[in-house]
Amino acid sequence: MAGMMSTLTAWYHTDKLLYALVSMGTMAVVGVVFGLLMDWLGRRMGADTSSARHHREKVSR
């Protein structure tokens, strides 16, 4: 963790283009990974995350 932080800080001070690209890439990857992880967790907890059916819509069938 400390090593990663010092590498990022070094890039921040020496190569802004690399730092900007890494920032964008990290956010995209963390966003997608956590999205999928939360989906998986939701399913494990028994929530139906597969569709947007409103619960009343479901009942009215």
Partner: protein, 353 residues
């Protein structure tokens, strides 16, 4: 924890709570949450430029999660989202240029013009949304009584579509080709220029006010373009993801992003965004818009308190209190909805026995 890029120490728990509240509200309303996160980071001692850049970076990551979720739910119109991208970019640049012009006139002029614009815009939008949601509810109640029972979700949607379509109808009279049709947004024929105009205006105001613009784009998509509320939320989040990617890159180049801070907020925002997005299943469009209007009104009050009453602490408390209260209310919707759905599922099974 010490953040070497921001050169400041911030309690990690504060970052996690802020990210979570921003995530819940963002997922529920289709806004980035810049109005909540940036002032909080600033209040925690983070320099303003780092607060804006890190907020933008975490909004980008968060809106990817929410866009994926809404796309899966069928709430995302990729066509409208992509048409909005160039208009938004151009509008943001125009807004930034107007801001530069105001800055040259003096700091007092900037603060005065921006604050007045903020208060007028938020109050007008809030009152308009309140009135329209109240009208939807009234029609729904009347039809509910006539049907002598509970209306289904499909009927509720029809009423809401009819009310918002009234507002979008005059925009539909614009007969300038090319035209757009979109099955997801249930739009049969609309001039592409209406979508471009909506994105340009919201982008301009976003650039001028220094915010992501989600709180402006979502109602514009509903009332001007004619999208159903849930599709407007999903499409708006997609636009935020695209502009957030650009914002993260450009703020990163300018050294305004503290990546560790952004990742920490994103982790809790990921949980919050899922909760907020999932809660939309248990709330109708009019409910989503009424809460949204209430939130806009409190932000207007907070800006007024800070600018004209010289009460920055009160302003911050109002903003954070509203964000916390709204998050709790949205989680309440979700818990109540899940419990009702489970009870409904159990009912037929027990009757069958």
């Amino acid at each position: 924890m010490y953040f070497p890029i921001a050169e400041t120490s911030v309690c990690v728990a504060y970052l996690l709570v802020t990210g979570f509240a921003g995530g819940v509200c963002g997922g529920f309303w289709g806004v980035g949450g810049g109005c909540i996160v940036t002032p909080t980071l600033y209040a925690l001692g983070v320099p303003m430029n780092i607060a804006i850049g890190s907020d933008m970076a975490h909004i980008f990551g968060k809106s990817i999660i929410s866009s994926l979720r809404h796309a899966k739910y069928g709430n995302l119109s990729l066509k409208i989202g992509l048409i909005m991208v160039p208009g938004t970019m151009l509008g943001v640049e125009m807004g930034a240029q107007i801001l530069q012009y105001l800055k040259r006139l003096g700091e007092r002029e900037v603060n005065g013009v921006i604050s007045i614009l903020y208060i007028v815009l938020l109050t007008t939008l809030a009152l308009f949304t309140f009135l329209e949601s109240w009208r939807s509810k009234k029609i729904l109640d009347r039809e509910n009584n006539a049907a002598d029972g509970e209306t289904t979700s499909a009927q509720t949607r029809q009423v809401e579509d009819r009310v918002t379509a009234d507002f979008a109808a005059w925009a539909g009279k614009l007969r300038i080709p090319p035209y757009l049709s979109c099955a997801v947004a249930r739009i049969e024929r609309q001039s592409v220029w209406v979508v471009v105009m909506a994105s340009l205006v919201t982008g301009l105001l976003a650039g001028l006010l220094g915010v992501g613009g989600g709180f402006l784009r979502m109602p514009m998509l509903v009332y001007l373009v004619g999208c159903p509320t849930h599709v407007a939320v999903g499409t708006d989040l997609f636009s935020i993801a695209v502009s957030g990617a650009y914002g993260t890159f450009t703020h990163g180049l300018k050294g305004n992003v503290d990546i560790m801070m952004a990742v920490l907020m994103l982790v809790s925002a990921a949980v919050g965004a899922q909760v907020g997005t999932f809660a939309t299943r248990y709330a109708h469009g009019a409910q989503v818009r009424t809460l949204f209007a209430a939130w806009l009104l409190t932000v207007a009050i907070a800006v007024f308190a800070k600018t004209y009453m010289q009460m920055p602490a009160v302003s911050l408390v109002v903003m954070l209190g509203t964000a916390g209260g709204m998050s709790a209310l949205i989680i309440g919707y979700l818990i109540r909805g899940v419990a009702a759905a489970r009870a409904d599922d159990r009912g037929p099974a027990e009757n069958a026995e």
